[in-house]
């Protein structure tokens, strides 16, 4: 680990953006690919290569370095329609409250709650869960 070239050390620093589990699996082979793609007199990582590492490293980190388990996928599939139904129910409740002219204060609570349920439903929509 101590006799890495300065270029390799720089690449490894960027690879630190990846989650630990991903690095344990792929860091050494990624360094091999990165180093094979360099010119003999190159001392600094290429900007496009670094941008690519940063994007994918952070993306892996955002998904916790692992793909969702079957349980998480099943949970998201069940919760998606439930979130939508709750949002629709709250919309109905808001309409009733407005109808009885009691909506003003309640809407301060209900509207953010509706938006939150819809946002969560959007985040766990079936097409958003990686296979």
């Amino acid at each position: 680990m101590t006799d890495h070239s300065p270029l390799e050390r720089r690449y490894r620093r960027w690879l630190a953006l990846y989650p630990k589990s991903f690095r344990a699996d792929h860091e050494d082979e990624m360094v091999a690919v990165l180093m094979q793609g360099t010119d003999p007199d190159q001392t600094r990582p290429r900007a496009r290569e670094v941008a690519n590492l940063a994007t994918h490293g952070l993306r892996q980190r955002a998904r916790g370095g692992r793909f969702p388990s079957n349980w998480e996928r099943a949970h998201a599939n069940i919760m998606f329609p439930i979130r939508i139904i709750i949002a629709l129910w709250l919309c109905l409740l808001s309409t009733l409250l407005i109808g009885y002219h009691r909506g003003e204060l309640w809407l301060l609570l209900l509207v953010p709650a509706i938006l939150l349920h819809l946002y969560i439903a959007y985040r766990i929509r079936p097409s958003a869960i990686p296979r």
């Binding site: 990624m30 360094v31 496009r48 290569e49 690519n52 590492l53 490293g57 296979r131």
Partner: protein, 111 residues
């Protein structure tokens, strides 16, 4: 889970590269560049995101490892599922290309 998503071009080209036999990371990069006539230059981040995903999906698997010049070379190979999925995707692309070419050049027979 009902309908399969369209495969990304990088994944398609990586599977195509591995259809010719097992290869290590940099071998895949150069092969994909050749297959795509220099159009697709895979970066390390993109390559390993795809390899990790394709392995998780069971379409490819690690084959063997070598140490060359003190560096790890892990070879990947296509699985049976991977070959099947690549063939399906190639058929789909051929059908699309055929439809496009038929409409662009009506009356010209396309093989």
């Amino acid at each position: 889970m009902s309908k399969r998503r369209t495969m990304q071009e990088a994944s398609f080209l990586i599977l195509t590269a591995l259809a010719g036999g097992s290869q290590h990371g940099y071998g895949i990069v150069t092969d994909v560049e050749q297959i795509s006539s220099g159009r697709v230059e895979l970066k390390a981040g993109t390559l390993y995101a795809a390899l990790d995903r394709l392995t998780a999906d069971g379409l490819i698997e690690p084959d063997r490892e070598e140490i060359v010049d003190n560096r790890l070379r892990r070879y990947y190979r296509l699985t049976g599922d991977g070959a099947e999925r690549l063939a399906e995707e190639a058929d789909r692309l051929r059908a699309n290309a055929h439809a496009a070419l038929t409409r662009l050049r009506p009356g010209v027979a396309i093989s």
